[in-house]
Amino acid sequence: MWDFFIEGAQLALRLDTFMMMSVGLLLGILVGALPGFTTTMALAILLPISFFLDPLVGIPFLIGITKGGIFGGSIPAILVSIPGTGASVATTFDGPALTKKGQSRKAMEMALFASVFGDTASDIITILFIAPIALVALSFGPPELGAIILLSLVVISASATGAFVKGLLMLAIGLFFGLVGQDPLGGVARFTFDFFPLRSGIPLLPMLIGVFALPEVFEAVERKTAALAAKLPARAGPRLTWAEFRRCLRTILRSTAIGTVIGAIPGMGQVIAAMVGYAAAKNASKHPETFGKGELEGIAAPEAANNAVNGPTLVPLLTLGIPGDNLTAILLGAFVAHGLRPGPQLFAEQGAIVFAILVAMVLANALFLVIGYATIPLFARVVTIRQSLLLPLTVIFAMTGAYIYQSDPFDLIIMLFFGVFGYVAKKLAFDVSPMVMAFILGPVLEYSLGQTLSLAQGEFLRFIFVERPITAAALAATPVVTYLLWRRAARLRRERAARAAREGTPAAGG
């Protein structure tokens, strides 16, 4: 293995590899920043280009697109509260608030540095521990996946702003929205109300754009007079300082660990990593009330976590031939097209090339840092546009993004529905993040439940608690973790109320 690593490192040090990785990174950032475009779409569109390149150039090119795309999605999330990709949903919680404070550049720089740190650390961990990570991936089946998803959803609900029961209600509402369309096991129609456009279910990106971007637009409209009267910032705000980055370092390390673990499990992905990373940061913080109001840790946590998925997510693909998500499924196609057969025999037959690709991934992060840093000033200038023009431009981009997802005008109606839903939820002190996570994970949870019931063959409890210890542990941990998080949230609310009573000011809700 060490010989393969040395040989692979030598193979990776090629000028054309670096050049194409740079092109891939830049394209990924630009595409990720466009609402409606997912990194998966960018990979699918640009995949044929890689066919004409050497494997050691083509595959790093695609990996560059993946890395750039995930960071690129954070840019509109920070500037205009539109998540460019599903992985940047959590970045909308604190990003726009920092932009309103005139700190958009700081927020984007934190997103970049956290992303690069998380990505680099997880890539190095992947290279060092690829074999044990593969064993972990192999031990995860449908019961384990379902139990981990359930635990993640409950943790996210407990960390949501507002009362716990309201977070759980939003979770249930999100699970219901995920039911609309076809059931993932048998493909039968559910809750379409005989309305044909709903047969394929509720589309994800228009829903995300609606629930996160439109409420911000409506609230900006409410403040119209104040917005017009407000002075425009001369620049995009100060840069991130070393002290601020160091303050968030513990959060970044925690999120990197979370993203690395989640990346190793097939079927989890960047979205879960980002949300769990954010929830963990908020729960571990001594001042969780600052989250959602422009807290830099609220940017660092999801961005480090979602990029930390990149390295380990390749492990099930390379070692077992199992793509964990859509991105790795496309990469599997690229590997096959280049004559590489992912699976247990890959390391034995073409180990040097595999390690060359892994080493190129680590080196790509240096390019990621440079290219990302160079693009930030361009995007940061967006906030200097006057609000009366920026708002309509934001709306046009949002609606374009919703339309191009499936080229279906009905998606615009979906977007508007969820825009109103998100606006009303915000006014009634509901946090929409549990709803969004449940919508994304609900079908996976149901699929896992169905497969588990089939595997159990009528002896569900015995199957779970005797044959699947990881599942049993996760299920047992769920109520315990829930209770601990609820108790902590209640204690913090008591402390806040007592502090407010001493100061003679009203305590913030939730």
């Binding site: 029961v165 096991l185 039968v188 080229s407």
Partner: protein
């Protein structure tokens, strides 16, 4: 679940009506209605030779989810007197509501007009309406942005990114 220690001293608790109680009732009613609708809104399992193809009843998960939603709504109803969150709708001025409603109607109109008028024309109209609504009085800037922005987006997306957008006869 909320901490009883958060309730103000001397509050009635359990009988006070607030927006949370009304919301809880509404959500409970919706959950109950959807639960009752499951037999009508979930199609029959597909079978082959008398055996289910999926092995799991497609109505199982919806019943679990909607049952949980109903139970949570009921819990929310009883816990709501202890929740001291402000109803942010009350802080919105009537004029602001009108502005938000007009914005929503403009977006709805855009969604309906997009396939008919095409991306550039409908986008330009939306830009002009919203820009004027948001108080921009520099008409040259309004028109220039309304024409240039949708045109640039259209050509950028269709020519460079190879994405289709609705066309107008001349675009």
């Amino acid at each position: 679940m909320d901490d009883p220690g958060n309730a103000p001293a001397g509050s009635a608790g359990g009988t006070r009506w607030n927006f949370n109680r009304v919301t809880a009732l509404a959500l409970a009613a919706i959950a109950a209605a959807l639960l009752a609708a499951v037999p009508y809104q979930v199609a029959e399992q597909r079978t082959a030779f008398g055996r289910s193809l999926s092995g799991v009843n497609p109505a199982l998960f919806p019943r679990l989810v909607l049952g949980a939603m109903l139970a949570l709504a009921i819990a929310y109803f009883f816990l709501s007197p202890r929740l001291h969150e402000p109803n942010l709708f009350r802080r919105v001025a009537p004029r602001a509501f009108v502005d938000v409603a007009i914005t929503f109607l403009c977006l709805l109109g855009y969604a309906v007009a997009l396939p008919e008028l095409g991306f550039v024309v409908s986008g330009a109209v939306l830009m002009v309406v919203l820009t004027l609504l948001y108080g921009n009085r520099n008409h040259f800037l309004t028109v220039a942005t309304a024409v240039l922005a949708p045109t640039a987006i259209y050509f950028g997306f269709t020519r460079l990114l190879r994405v289709s957008l609705p066309e107008f006869p001349f675009f």
